[in-house]
Amino acid sequence: MATITSTPTVTRRRRQSPLLRGVVRTPYYVLTGGLAILFLFPLLWTTVASVSPRAGTAQSDGFGFANYVTLANYQAGIWTYLYNSTFVSLLTVVLTLGISGLGGYAFARFSFPGKNALFMVTLAILMVPYATLLIPLYVLLTRVGLQNSLVGVALVLTMFQLPFSIFMMRVSFESVPKELDEAALVDGCSTFAVLWRVLVPAVKPGLITVGLFAFLAAWNDFMAPLILINDSNRMTLPLAIANLRVQVQGIVDYGATEAGVVILALPCCILFLLLQRHYVRGFMSGALKG
């Protein structure tokens, strides 16, 4: 398991005998061990419970995947919802990468009229409540035929990703020495060739961070599809699983809900563990500039 970026040791302990250190350290390990369990327990318990026997669920005796089978056959079928979620997430990632890649390049290397205004307005998206925008977006997308459409959801989610992504990509491009692309320009490259062949490899970590955040945001988003989608065949996974709870006459199928949570959480946890470095950097870049 990768560990998060190290911080410099700030407090150095005075030299102690091993025995004394052991006595001092025991409460520390009890405390921190307890914390680790506290944060991991809900996920671990749900995963185990989803395959464990429980009366009133599909998995009534013995261990197995009956809850997942129930989930698979729920309404339009889990594959439809998985497809919808994957489609929305990938489209959001592609759009976010494209727009913030080009936009970050523009902000970092060019000057053009309205540059600062556009940057400020993009960041202002963060200041406006989600719900404040989703209601008029519902009306606007209805007018252009993109309401109840997965493409519409992806467009909206991309817009919400722009403040972070444009900011992140601007900083990434600015941290590349200008000499690198100026040399290529003098060699006669077009500005797009410079971007594609010289700068994109240099800002790859920034692109990975932006893509990861766009994926997690889109995969997990609940409110945009809740408001924009009303056809049950076009629901995304979080919406379908939230609806699953009130499946039969208000009786909640806890087993299938657990299975649904596991399916929702699994890709996020895997991506987090694989790309932890990029994930942490994304948060940090936001913190550094405020």
Partner: protein, 308 residues
């Protein structure tokens, strides 16, 4: 880095040999690269923002669309809605609770995992992992955990007559616990960045002067961490004021409408029953103005603090 020949040729055809950087990096090219960003921001942010202003001043049922101006009436209806006052009070109460807890716990965790070691790396990863989950997934997860039928505490709850979501106070506390679980890692990380920004020679000097751990924390760490504390507070307040998913999924606003937040009220006025986009628009505008004012006040308070 050598340029590909094709690109060189294409470049040579389009530009005179003396083309300078200023010539290549002229404004229309920059504007062209920023165009997709501009289109998204205009079409999906500025336009909806203007539309919500129009909606808030219009009679606008969900299904039949704009029916003409209805200016002060929407706002009057919004603030006299039977759940308006309750939702504002509840949202503020929740915001205060969540912000205090998350900032304190974030700071505590940040201090705890500050130094780097294998164990602390594992600890950071464990604490941060829930933040990769969606808020909706986390809420569903706790919906089962808190269940008096299926949760791991079902028997204990039964024996002692505890219900995690049954009373207004318990519902608030249980939901706040879920939020702390989901966001503690995020705030821990922000605190770590702040702690990292404090130059280590300041601590060296304190140690040489014989300052105790508490003195070092109180008179060095805390004052130097002020910008981070300001940032985390503003972020947490903003996020909490806009709370929706956790209550929508976990408590559905209950018991007895005791956990309805402002955003939930906006959603239910717009799409659940009343279907009144005009009043929902008015509520949205009120929420937007309140958020801007609250953030401005906070930033000013922190800035003033810094001057002293």
């Amino acid at each position: 880095m050598s340029a590909p020949i094709a690109a060189v040729r294409a470049g040579a055809q389009r530009h005179t040999p003396g083309a300078t950087r200023a010539g290549r990096r002229n404004s229309w090219r920059g504007a062209a690269y920023a165009l997709p960003n501009a289109l998204f921001v205009l079409g999906l942010f500025v336009l909806p923002l203007l539309l919500v202003l129009q909606m808030s001043a219009s009679k606008w049922p969900l299904l039949s669309g704009n029916q003409g101006w209805n200016f002060p009436a929407n706002f009057t209806k919004a603030v006299t809605h039977r759940l308006f006052a309750d939702s504002v009070v509840f949202t503020l109460k929740y915001t205060l609770l969540a912000t205090v807890l998350l900032v304190l716990i974030g700071l505590g965790l940040g201090l705890l995992v500050q130094e780097s070691s294998r164990w602390k790396g594992f600890l950071r990863t464990s604490i941060l992992l829930p933040s990769a989950l969606g808020l909706a997934s986390a809420s569903l997860l706790f919906y089962v955990l808190y269940s008096p039928i299926a949760g791991p505490f079902a028997e204990t709850m039964d024996r002692f007559g505890i219900s995690f979501l049954g009373t207004p106070t318990m519902a608030l506390l249980s939901t706040t616990f879920l939020i702390v679980w989901r966001y503690a890692g995020f705030y821990m990380l922000l605190m770590l960045v702040g702690l990292q920004g404090i130059p280590s020679d300041v601590f060296e000097a304190a140690r040489t002067d014989g300052a105790s751990v508490w003195q070092t924390f109180r008179y060095i760490t805390l004052p130097l961490l002020k910008p981070t504390l300001a940032l985390t507070t503003v972020m947490c307040v903003t996020g909490s004021l806009l709370a929706f998913e956790q209550f929508y999924i976990l408590t559905k606003g209950g018991p007895d409408n005791s956990t309805i937040t402002v955003v939930q009220l906006i959603y239910s006025v717009a799409f659940q029953g009343q279907n009144d986009l005009g009043v929902a628009g008015a509520l949205s505008v009120i929420a937007l103005v309140a958020l801007v004012v609250i953030n401005a006040v906070q930033l000013r308070a922190f800035a003033k603090d810094k001057d002293e």
